[in-house]
């Protein structure tokens, strides 16, 4: 276990050493979204009949930050150490594929949760927030972070240049998180977009997470849980397969 523990600790140190960039910056970004959108919409809408828009927005922003940062952690660590070449020190070690997986994804989950907690800390005083089912909140935060951590692992192993990684981030992760109901309830969308949102796996992560706060959501939390578990199985499975086969790591 010492090997796994060491890699996990190293991955944590890696992002904590640049905490302004990896923790403070996404928290500030989320705060800016909150200030702008709540100013624009609070007077005009309530969600689920009783939830003020600002309160609705906060869990969405939290989860968006959790997902994006969990993805960023594994993907940037992998691509950086691949391009600088120092990944070789991990590859020369006796760490097994599952240990690499747990350490990399574990660090991603922790970064996601720290950033998520940071967003909560700076936004919570804007509006009274309820925490109806805290366990759902935690379950979806962890499952969302681990799914995106695994996805970041896949992207980090697959990408050979920073450019490819930026494409993955900008054309897949960012649109998928933005269009998953962070800023609105998908019930309010016209037909096509509503269907499209239901096909977006990130929608279930955010909806289930939000259910934990308000006890209400666009779909049942159980459906969201199944979607989150399937997403984890798929992303985790692919990432593990890549690590076991040494895809793009051991030629």
């Amino acid at each position: 276990m010492t090997g796994l523990h060491t890699l996990l600790q190293k991955e944590l140190l890696r992002f904590l050493k640049v905490g302004f960039q990896t923790v403070a910056a996404p928290v500030v970004t989320a705060l800016l979204y909150l200030l702008i959108f709540s100013h624009a919409f609070t007077a005009h809408m309530q969600v689920y009949g009783h939830v003020p828009y600002t309160a609705f927005l906060i869990p969405g922003l939290m989860m968006m930050s959790v997902l994006q940062n969990a993805f960023a952690n594994t993907s940037s660590s992998l691509i950086q150490s691949k391009i600088t070449g120092n990944l070789v020190f991990v590859l020369l070690s006796p760490l097994k594929p599952w240990e690499l997986f747990v350490a990399y994804v574990g660090a991603s989950v922790l970064r996601g949760l720290i950033v998520g907690a940071g967003v909560l800390l700076v936004t919570a005083w804007f509006v009274p927030l309820s925490f109806v089912y805290p366990l759902w909140i935690l379950v979806f935060a962890v499952l969302g972070a681990s799914m995106l951590g695994a996805l970041g692992l896949i992207a980090g192993i697959w990408a050979e240049k920073f450019d490819q990684m930026a494409a993955f981030q900008n054309f897949i992760i960012t649109p998928a998180t933005f269009l998953s109901g962070v800023f609105y309830s998908v019930h309010t969308l016209p037909g096509f977009w509503k269907v499209a949102s239901h096909l977006n796996p990130f929608f279930y992560l955010i909806d289930g997470f939000r259910y934990g706060f308000f006890g209400a959501g666009d779909v049942s939390p159980w459906i969201s849980l199944i979607a989150a578990l399937l997403g984890n199985l798929l992303c985790g499975g692919i990432a593990m397969m890549m690590l076991m086969r040494g895809t793009k790591l051991r030629n």
């Binding site: 890699l7 190293k10 070789v88 020369l92 006796p94």
Partner: protein
């Protein structure tokens, strides 16, 4: 192949499409040996080392470290191996000591301070211990890579061109340290371009060319087996007959196998209309053997 060999390449082949980077290498390195792997650029040395390190998969054949297959029993094999990669790489996030602690941790050593201190001392890194890797010169970074390969006291130490572009001082102290580890029973496998290093250190040498082992013998035997001496001269007039000798920095080197051969070669030169000057006869060193083997001579 014997199960007691420290390293065993068993009919190892690596193909990239039509090209064979390593072509059926069979090679055993005994425990405690100081072994040299020589060859020109692109001969397949680094591919062979990469397969030993588990960074590259053989197309066929297998590589064993003290009987452990590097593919099937990877964790056990890697515990026995300490590899210094050829390329200069480092983690810019950490200090020298942090890097060595992390590397120790990967191998399951939680408290390794005494050995880390010894490594730092022997590699002249004590003053640099708390400096960030980014702040180190190239030579210092290379020393850290050597220390990283040794944190877990591996039985087999693999050095892939460890002194390329490194200052004389490090070369000296590095070899003293590695020789000491070898004397303590560690097996050392070295690839190098500095032939005088291989000649001074390695007890046995394999020369590879185009992915194949073209010579494998004790260093002294290699020196004896090939050209006993080399004739050096400056060409004043005429053109060297094809395949006779090789030009090296304005002078010509011509391998000879004894007094009779000297006469024979000089006659051949005369016949070709060559006039020569500054004639010198020198005992062959590994460089001459090497040049002869890879086909620069004849």
């Amino acid at each position: 192949m014997t199960s007691t060999a420290a390293v065993s390449f068993d009919h190892v082949e690596k193909r990239y499409g039509q090209h064979s980077a390593v072509d059926g290498v069979v090679l055993d390195i005994a425990e405690g040996e100081f072994f040299g792997l020589l060859g020109p650029n692109g001969a397949g040395k680094t591919t062979l080392i990469s397969m030993l390190a588990g960074l590259t998969r053989p197309t066929s054949g297998r590589v064993l470290v003290q009987g452990h297959d590097v593919q099937l029993d990877a964790a056990a094999a890697r515990r026995l191996l300490g590899v210094v990669p050829q390329e200069l790489v480092f983690d810019p996030f950490f200090t020298v000591r942090q890097v060595l602690r992390i590397q120790s941790g990967y191998f399951g050593f939680r408290r390794n301070e005494a050995w880390i201190d010894e490594l730092l001392h022997n590699l002249g890194l004590t003053v640099q211990a708390d400096k960030n890797m980014r702040a180190l010169s190239g030579g210092m970074k290379r020393r850290v890579m050597v220390a990283q390969a040794l944190v877990h006291r591996p039985q087999v130490i693999v050095l892939d061109e460890p002194t390329a572009g490194v200052d004389v001082e490090l070369r000296q102290s590095l070899w003293e340290f590695i020789a000491r580890l070898n004397a303590e029973g560690h097996t050392v496998l070295l690839t190098t371009h500095y032939l005088e290093e291989a000649e001074a250190l390695c007890k046995r040498i394999a020369v590879i060319k185009s992915g194949k082992v073209v010579a494998l013998d004790r260093t002294e035997a290699l020196l004896q087996r090939f050209a006993a001496s080399v004739l050096y001269f400056r060409l004043v007039k005429g053109k060297l007959p094809d395949g006779l000798g090789v030009e090296q920095g304005g002078r010509v080197a011509l391998p000879v196998r004894g007094a009779e051969d000297v006469e024979h070669q000089l006659a051949a030169l005369r016949q070709a209309g060559c006039e020569i000057d500054e004639l010198e006869l020198r005992r062959a060193d590994l460089e001459d053997v090497f040049l002869e083997l890879i086909g620069a001579f004849r």
